[in-house]
Structure formats: structure tokens, C-alpha cells
């Protein structure tokens, strides 16, 4: 019995998850088997024999477009111009945690160096921090392996945000035959790691101004003053 057929059937349930490997309806002839490509594991599993039928294919569910940012290709930088820093986008979908609670974890990590971020998450007593930490570590490995990042520590978290996942509604009893709804929430966590040094202030508009900047602002305010209805 085809192992792949079993797998695809076992996964067919009321809750269908996105499929990892590419679906093919073609039986590979022994002579046509492609050699095992070293280091090409990446996204797809090596499938020289694939026996599931197209009818078994589960339509991918959940966010799909975030990892597509990893396929963007930029033209070679002309001589004299600054090199573009490498970036990698990664996500973890369907985390059994509330998105509003996960938001705190996502905010914590923004603008930190990757090592600092992972170390901070180790000591955050929240369920979502485990998922966030796994995402960051995976993203780091992917950056070094696939995206020509030289040093795994030379990364910083440039984007870190949460998306709402599915919500499964259960219910509970209250007094006097009243029913209440219990929401079981899921969330998705998205991260972008960029190569290089993080900026000094992640939120530039909220930074503490230097005395010179403050003076300039004050001067501008003073100069903007007018006397109403004057000539």
C-alpha cells in the first residue's frame, strides 16, 4: 500500500492542513529516477516514487504569500553602489495561542539582534514565546543555508507580527440554562530577518531627540507663530 497514499488519507479530516510536498500524479519509472540532489532538501521532500492521486490532494490552507517574499530576485548591484542586505521571511502558522496575547511576544522581539531575541524569548513566561523562538531559529538556519548569509549571528529582526488564525467555537454552560461561547484561538507568527546591524531606534519617530534636534524643533515652533488677523 503506497505510503504516500496512506499519509494523504490519514490527513484528510475536518481540519485540513497545508501539504508540504508537491503533488504529482506520475509514477516514476526506475530508469527515470533522478539522482539524489545533495543539499536540495529545502522545501520539497525528495519524491522519486509518488503514488497519491490528484483527488487526494489537500488544498493548501492558511497564509501562503509570506514565504513568496523569499523568491524575490534582485538584479546585480552596479559597481559603486551599496550592497543590498540579505533578508529571509519565515512564518509559523496555526499556533494554538491567542493573537492578542502573541502580539506582546512579537513586539518584544522587534529590532533586536537574532541572538538577543532568542535569549530574551527563552525567559518570557508565555506560551507563544516557544513558537516565536522556534520560528526565529528556523529562519536563521534557512538564511545561512539558502540565502547566502555568511554569519548566522549577523541577523536582526526587522519585521515581527502576528496574524489571526482560525477560531474554533466551543461552548460552556452558565447558570439558569444559559450557554456561553468559548473561543479556541489560533494565530500565525511572521518574521523577517535582515542581515547586518539593526538601526539604533526601531521606531524612528518615537526616539528620544538629541538636544540639537530639540532646539531645532523649538526654534521652528517659535518661527511658526503668527498674530491672527494681522497684516
Amino acid at each position: 500500500m503506497g505510503l504516500r497514499a496512506l499519509q494523504s488519507c490519514a490527513s484528510r479530516s475536518t481540519f485540513i492542513w497545508p501539504i508540504k510536498g508537491c503533488p504529482t500524479g506520475i509514477i516514476a519509472h526506475p530508469l527515470l529516477q533522478y539522482p539524489d540532489i545533495p543539499g536540495a532538501k529545502g522545501n520539497s521532500e525528495s519524491c522519486s516514487f509518488h503514488t497519491s492521486s490528484l483527488l487526494c490532494w489537500d488544498r493548501p490552507k492558511g497564509p501562503q504569500s509570506w514565504p513568496k517574499n523569499n523568491k524575490l530576485k534582485f538584479p546585480p548591484t552596479p559597481l559603486g553602489e551599496e550592497q543590498r542586505p540579505a533578508f529571509v521571511c519565515h512564518m509559523k502558522t496555526n499556533i494554538k495561542y491567542s493573537p492578542s496575547k502573541m502580539w506582546y511576544v512579537a513586539c518584544l522581539v522587534r529590532g533586536l539582534r537574532i541572538d538577543d531575541a532568542i535569549n530574551q524569548l527563552k525567559f518570557v513566561h508565555k506560551k507563544g514565546s516557544v513558537a516565536a523562538r522556534e520560528t526565529l531559529e528556523e529562519a536563521q538556519k534557512i538564511a545561512v543555508r539558502d540565502h547566502n548569509v555568511e554569519f548566522p549571528s549577523n541577523l536582526w529582526v526587522s519585521e515581527s507580527f502576528v496574524g489571526k488564525g482560525m477560531v474554533i467555537k466551543g461552548f460552556r454552560r452558565h447558570a439558569r440554562r444559559r450557554m456561553g461561547v468559548v473561543e479556541y484561538k489560533y494565530c500565525h507568527y511572521f518574521v523577517t530577518l535582515e542581515e547586518g546591524e539593526p538601526p539604533e531606534h526601531y521606531y524612528h519617530f518615537r526616539r528620544n531627540l538629541t538636544p540639537q534636534e530639540m532646539l531645532q524643533e523649538w526654534l521652528e515652533e517659535q518661527r511658526m507663530r503668527t498674530i491672527n488677523l494681522s497684516l
Binding site: L6, C9, A10, H29, G39, A40, K73, P85, A86, R173
Partner: protein, 343 residues
């Protein structure tokens, strides 16, 4: 002392009726403090936890349990044995599908090189003009019996097959294939490269910009080896011809972000390669296409990428290709021995 007592009493809020008695917020986790963040004063919130212990067990039963999907299901599926999977399917009430599929397929290329050519050691190191180099060159194809038989077999299907003409044509196909790879023109690539070689050629080239230039050949291309195999039937013949190229090329590979990853656009390198071309000669529409490349053991290692990388610990069975996972495996021009062109 009295001041301290007074502060203690005030905390109990018995002395000052105006103050609000709130329990200090206890947190078991550290919150990273942003100095710019505004301080929000604590306010009494609705608390979900019922501190009265008496009916706790009954309160637990008020919530009706719902079976939640397992997010790690996909990962676990890969690790399951067939018996475990069958048990899980029974649990879910899913019937197994029919295992057999029928779809016609066409074999358009073989899976490897049949009786690969073994290039002699020290090939390409001596100039053809020198005495030793000339001796080396005396390995005429006519002396190789099996190769001649194969060429005669090819002539059965294609009467105008000539090794010299074929070598020139092979170089043209070689250049076409490289240009197609640089442009990533899939159609042209399939016409110049066999199905077996296609994934090997393209697998690291997808997200990269490749700039390749053919500057010229140092020695004319030579057919060094030929073999014929048949697949399934005696009449279904595939021919594999090995051609030796000694050329000057430049290769520059830029990564996804436009940064130079390997090679150089300006520095030319001498490249000595033994490329296997295959043709399904039994098929009247068969094309000569690049099938494989023979890398002898004495060939010096390729030029490394411009960045440093960590070499994985080699397990005994692991092949050397695992180590150089970052290097571009495309017919790489780098690292071939510089020619001692002195006569």
C-alpha cells in the same frame, strides 16, 4: 520608625479613605521595558479566575470539551509507520484509497552514464606543441574498439555522423545550454539538456543571476568516447558520446540580492571538461543533449564561494557533495588547473 509605621498603615488604606486599595500586579515574566513607552497606570480589571474553591470541580464540567486539531499533525505523519497510520485512519473513519495508478510515460533519457570514460591523469597539463603533449594527443579514437563499434551503431541510424563535425556541433549545444541556463529559458534548456541532467543543472540556479561568457576554445573539441545502450527493447537504442572541451570562460554568479557570490565577470578561467552527450537515436526526432559530466579524481577542487561557510562534520558514508552545499554545481568553471602554456 513612626514614619515607617505610618507608611505601612497608609498602605493598608485604613488611615486614608480616599486611596484605592489595589493588590500590586504580580508577573512571573520579565517585560522588556522600552524607555519611550508611556507608563499606563494599573486599573482594576475583571478577573477570570474564581478564587472560591468550593465548586471548582463542578465549574470545570461546565465547559464542554471540543476536539482541537493538532498543529503538529503534518510533522507527525511523516514519522508514522504504516500500521500506526492505518490505526489512525480507522479512528477517523477514513477508507484507504486504491493504491494503483495508471499513466503512460515515455522514456526520453537514461538514468546515468553507461561505461563512463576514464580521463587519463595529467590530461590538459601539457601543451600540444610540446613533445610530451603531442604523445598524449596520440590517443586517437580509432584505437578504441568499443567506441568505434558504438559509432558504427550510431551510423546505422544517422548516416552522416562524423566525429569531427559532431564535436563542433557539441560545442554549439554546450554554449546554448549555458546561455539558456543563464537566462533560465526552460524551453531551450530542455532542448539542450536531458531530463536526467536538468535537475542537476538547475537546482541551485533558480534564485540566482548567472552571467556566463564563452571566450574561445584553447584546443578544438574532441570526441573521446562513445557507447550505445538499449532500454527495454533491443531496438530502443540510446547513444552516449563523451566530448572533451578545453575552453576559456568567465562565470559570475550573483545571489538573490544581487551580490557577487561566486567567480568574476572579468577574470577568465581555463576549463577542461568531459561532457557526455546523449541522443535517443532510435527516435527519429531525437536530439543530442547534454547528459552528464565526468569529473575525474585528479581534477583540482573548484573555486570556492566568496563568503566563508561552515563545513559540516562528515559522516563515514556521506558523499563529498554534502559538504559543499553552498557551491554552485552548475558546470562550474572554477578551480580547473591553470594551463602551463609554455612550450
Amino acid at each position: 520608625m513612626t514614619a515607617r509605621l505610618a507608611s505601612r498603615i497608609s498602605l493598608l488604606s485604613l488611615s486614608s479613605p480616599g486611596s484605592v486599595c489595589t493588590a500590586p500586579l504580580r508577573r512571573n515574566y520579565y517585560v522588556y521595558k522600552d524607555p519611550v513607552y508611556k507608563h499606563m497606570p494599573q486599573s482594576f480589571n475583571f478577573k477570570r479566575k474564581n478564587y472560591i474553591d468550593k465548586f471548582r470541580r463542578d465549574r470545570r464540567h461546565k465547559i464542554i470539551k471540543v476536539e482541537l486539531p493538532d498543529p503538529d499533525e503534518r510533522a507527525k505523519l511523516d514519522a508514522m509507520t504504516p500500521d500506526e497510520m492505518r490505526a489512525k485512519m480507522k479512528e477517523k473513519g477514513i477508507q484507504p484509497t486504491r493504491p494503483w495508478q495508471e499513466k503512460p510515460f515515455f522514456i526520453s533519457s537514461t538514468a546515468g552514464t553507461f561505461e563512463a570514460y576514464v580521463p587519463p591523469e595529467g590530461d590538459g597539463k601539457l601543451s600540444a606543441a610540446s613533445r610530451a603533449g603531442a604523445k598524449q594527443k596520440l590517443q586517437f579514437l580509432e584505437k578504441k574498439g568499443k567506441s568505434m563499434i558504438a559509432i558504427r551503431k550510431i551510423r546505422q541510424f544517422d548516416e552522416d555522423f562524423d566525429t569531427k563535425d559532431f564535436a563542433e556541433k557539441a560545442q554549439e549545444i554546450y554554449i546554448e545550454a549555458h546561455k539558456a541556463l543563464a537566462d533560465f529559458n526552460k524551453v531551450r534548456l530542455h532542448q539542450t539538456v536531458t531530463e536526467r541532467a536538468y535537475p542537476v543543472v538547475t537546482h541551485q540556479a533558480r534564485s540566482k543571476t548567472i552571467r556566463w561568457q564563452f571566450l574561445g576554445s584553447l584546443e578544438p573539441p574532441q570526441v573521446v568516447h562513445a557507447r550505445c545502450t538499449d532500454v527495454l527493447n533491443k531496438e530502443n537504442v540510446f547513444a552516449q558520446v563523451t566530448v572533451r572541451f578545453h575552453t576559456k570562460q568567465t562565470l559570475a554568479v550573483y545571489d538573490r540580492f544581487g551580490r557577487l557570490q561566486h567567480g568574476s565577470e572579468v577574470v577568465a578561467r581555463d576549463v577542461l571538461e568531459y561532457v557526455v552527450f546523449e541522443n535517443h537515436i532510435a527516435n527519429s526526432y531525437g536530439l543530442w543533449r547534454i547528459h552528464d559530466k565526468i569529473i575525474p579524481d585528479w581534477m583540482p577542487p573548484r573555486q570556492p564561494i566568496l563568503k566563508t561557510y561552515r563545513v559540516e562534520e562528515t559522516v563515514e558514508e556521506a558523499s563529498s557533495a554534502d559538504k559543499e552545499s553552498k557551491e554552485v554545481e552548475l558546470a562550474s568553471k572554477a578551480g580547473n588547473q591553470p594551463i602551463a602554456a609554455t612550450a
